[in-house]
Amino acid sequence: MPAVSKGDGMRGLAVFISDIRNCKSKEAEIKRINKELANIRSKFKGDKALDGYSKKKYVCKLLFIFLLGHDIDFGHMEAVNLLSSNKYTEKQIGYLFISVLVNSNSELIRLINNAIKNDLSSRNPTFMCLALHCIANVGSREMAEAFAGEIPRILVAGDTMDSVKQSAALCLLRLYKASPDLVLMGEWTSRVVHLLNDQHMGVVTAAISLITCLSSKNPDEFKTCVSLAVSRLSRIVSSASTDLQDYTYYFVPAPWLSCKLLRLLQCYPPPEDGAVKGRLVECLETILNKAQEPPKSKKVQHSNAKNAILFEAISLIIHYDSEPNLLVRACNQLGQFLQHRETNLRYLALESMCTLASSEFSHEAVKTHIETVINALKTERDVSVRQRAADLLYAMCDRSNAKQIVAEMLSYLETADYSIREEMVLKVAILAEKYAVDYSWYVDTILNLIRIAGDYVSEEVWYRVIQIVINRDDVQGYAAKTVFEALQAPACHENMVKVGGYILGEFGNLIAGDPRSSPLVQFNLLHSKFHLCSVPTRALLLSAYIKFINLFPETKATIQEVLRSDSQIRNSDVELQQRAVEYLKLSSIASTDVLATVLEEMPPFPERESSILAKLKKKKGPGAVSVELEDGKERGELNGGGDRGGDASTPSPSADLLGLRSTAPVSGTTPSAGSLLVDVFSEAGPSATSAGVNDDGFLSSAPPTVASEDPAPPLPESDELLNKFVCKNNGVLFENQLLQIGIKSEYRQNLGRMYLFYGNKTSVQFVSFNTTVSCPGELQSHILQLEPLVEGGAQVQQVINIECLTDFIDAPLLNIKFRYGGALQNISLKLPVTINKFFQPTEMAAADFFQRWKQLSQPQQEAQKIFKASHGMDTEVLKAKLLGLGTALLENVDPNPENYVCAGVIQTKAQQVGCLLRLEPNAQAQVHTHKCILLDSRLIMCHQCKSILNSC
């Protein structure tokens, strides 16, 4: 045990610490601690009043035990008692205990605050500092409430000691960070700013942290600090290394203060005042110059301090981004660090250059260091440095060096650390796409990615390569050839099989002329991988096979054989079995024409933001790429179950970010969810046997009926019709001179059944009577076909089953075609399927309701609407409407009897979304305020509810 060097020793404490250190095991330590805790407890509870020394000693022991990682649940009161001791040493230990072990017991806090108040008003600087340290260490709201008014006064008072000012400044900073609303600078602002001129360097050092924080939050109020900071910086930078006495650190004058001044200036744009700006540029130049001077000391502290200032100056230069000379100089000086023997400097240089690369003035200068950076990626021993090198290569990449950088990153991937592989893969994929001049290079790159790091290639990456191949016909043949070659490797990654299956299924015909890749060879190659693949991949391959039957009739027999085998047609996986059965049937009964239509080539994908980029942004946060995410954190997984086509792919202002395929042909496909690749790949539901829309990957989404005429656009009044049915399920859907359509529908959970009654109002028969339903991807429909003849005056009934997979906006379209006296009638209507049909009413008590109501107050969780009471204010009518909406109308829940509250759960296959509603009628204004809250953060639902509310 070392002799206690200074101050008073606490022998008992030292003995206890020694005992703990001598414990041979964790158990022994715990035993010793429990013994001590029992001892202290009995001392605290004992009849004999403890003297200050003993109290201090025991409190200190408790503190030690707590710092060892054990829980302490007593002793707070004794510590608080120490605060008002008249012995400094006891007071000090009391404050330390409180600082480390704050307790939110309100009675204690009152006592602590009282003690602090006494010390603050004691006029004894040592006591004042102790009290301020305690406030700064605890920083709780209660303390802010008690002291936020007093501390600014102490800070700026003329007679406050320097050391107290220092503590007061940082104490205030801590309170401001915790409770900014309670710290009001107001009248003190200018005096606080003028602390930058204080004689005492320590005061300036402490005050500038406070000023920087306040400036970043209220730049206008504090903008006078700019010129003060510049002149202070200028005085430091030009001072000789001995001028500042003890504030010189290893021959560097005031490095901490210099860094903080440079950081403060980064809260503001370049100074407008020419003289101030000139002085600042001079400072920055001096800093750059000094960094080049021979070192005044060989100590690492000297170079660290000097370079800390240099890096901070470079940050400011980058922040201004307006001085080309300085930017290029900065870049050159960082370039020297790239090969410095200090790992720390290499790391920081790579990091700083990353930001320099994004400035137009220095981008070219950064690029000159490409070889060094590539070398760093290959040879650095520390993974965090290699990571920086990879980041910098990504940042400096442009059209001129993309091929080199991508090649280097690819070869690095082979040995890259597992922790950074996925990010590297995304970056390579993005660069390859962004700078692809010829798309064969792009295809090669992605296939290489899959080959080298298949496990780290996320779905987004291989979806993307398929999107691009589908959309660019100049690369399709090359892609087919390349995947064909890649698949010949004896072991290839499953992702390669997926890409191969998809591409050969679409474009295998482009290479079928070569006998080495004849249709059967292609098929056998794909099928040789089949048994090693997972179910989703096998499902994809089955779809590729049916596409083969269409592309190459000569493979039909072989493929049918495969489909017919027990391992397919009786596969225990229902998806595989279903595909095998359906494809087999399709290939046997459909005519070549029908087959060709059904299995037509996929239409081009609509333009949208690269899903890969979205993924990288999600991974790295907004700083990693140049485009901000709107709300990165709220997003679900891109391909998460219920999220298909939701927000992740919403065309955002950045949709054209990659500027890649802006000239590629875009089909008329609407950017609805159904056309997204993500959806295309989604599993088909169990009852996907429809003559209408098949959800399967390879089938194009145009209704493959034999009809030659396109369905008519929906009737203009169909939206109105839709609104009519929001709160009811039965009625007349449509009527004209010829035809009347009645509807009856019922819903249970996420399923709906609809009966449509077509009445022929004429005395002549309708011929070729044909109806189809097309659904958005979020709904699935099954329609029973009718006889093509409807006699005059007759009524026929048709059943449509609807399944809600996930939330949706667009209602399904019903198209009716028939001939009346030789003339074709073509009518499209919206079927009245709205999201509220899938409501399940939920009963809940008032307390429960309002607790949830309050929890869900994120802006994206609620929708509010004020609208005219077009249906009057009659209570019974409103009640009927709300019940018709499908929610439970909760009685005696809202304290205001005028209001209506409802609760329900929207049932979809993918998820259930709770929904709370409140309707506040305002009889005078004849308006309702309707507010809807969702247990889900997705705006899509809110919008949907808004439009439903509209029609109530």
Binding site: L96, A308, S384
Partner: protein, 147 residues
């Protein structure tokens, strides 16, 4: 700065100072994770690492690791020198400081740190001034003040 940790090569925490409000549980988890991460690093590696959304700056002095967590925009090198200055202060105060000094006089280590850094920011960077404040406090140790 968000927090500072001192720990031994065996991974035992010797000092912990938190400048942001965190629950006891979170603190324990952070310390455990970080101690593990840093002890796994090799001696010649860089003193900085990205960890969650923070930057970690650390340096080893004899048997003790000094580790600071700073925010993204903070300066790594100057933080490294914060650590060094603190080591110098301890060294001057204890006279060639060793791990045992910090174990047996942990309260002093906290007092010195509070004089140097407050609320996570440098309060006084002059070695003389910090030591003067500590010495003054030591002189007061047994003085009794009228209440």
């Amino acid at each position: 700065m968000q927090f500072m940790l001192l720990f031994s090569r065996q991974g035992k925490l010797r000092l912990q100072k938190w400048y942001v409000p965190l629950s006891d549980k979170e603190r324990k988890k952070i310390s455990r994770d970080l101690v593990q991460t840093i002890l796994a690093r090799k001696p010649k590696m860089c003193s900085f690492l990205e960890w969650r959304d923070l930057k970690i700056v650390y340096k080893r002095y004899a048997s003790l690791y000094f580790c600071c967590a700073v925010e993204d925009q903070d300066n790594e090198l100057i933080t490294l020198e914060i650590i060094h200055r603190y080591v110098e202060l301890l060294d001057k105060y204890f006279g060639s400081v060793c791990e045992l000094d910090i174990i047996f006089n942990f309260e002093k280590a906290y007092f010195i740190l509070d004089e140097f850094l407050l609320g996570g920011e440098a309060q006084e960077t002059s070695k003389k001034n910090v030591l003067k404040a500590i010495e003054q406090a030591d002189l007061l140790q047994e003085c009794t003040f009228p209440v």
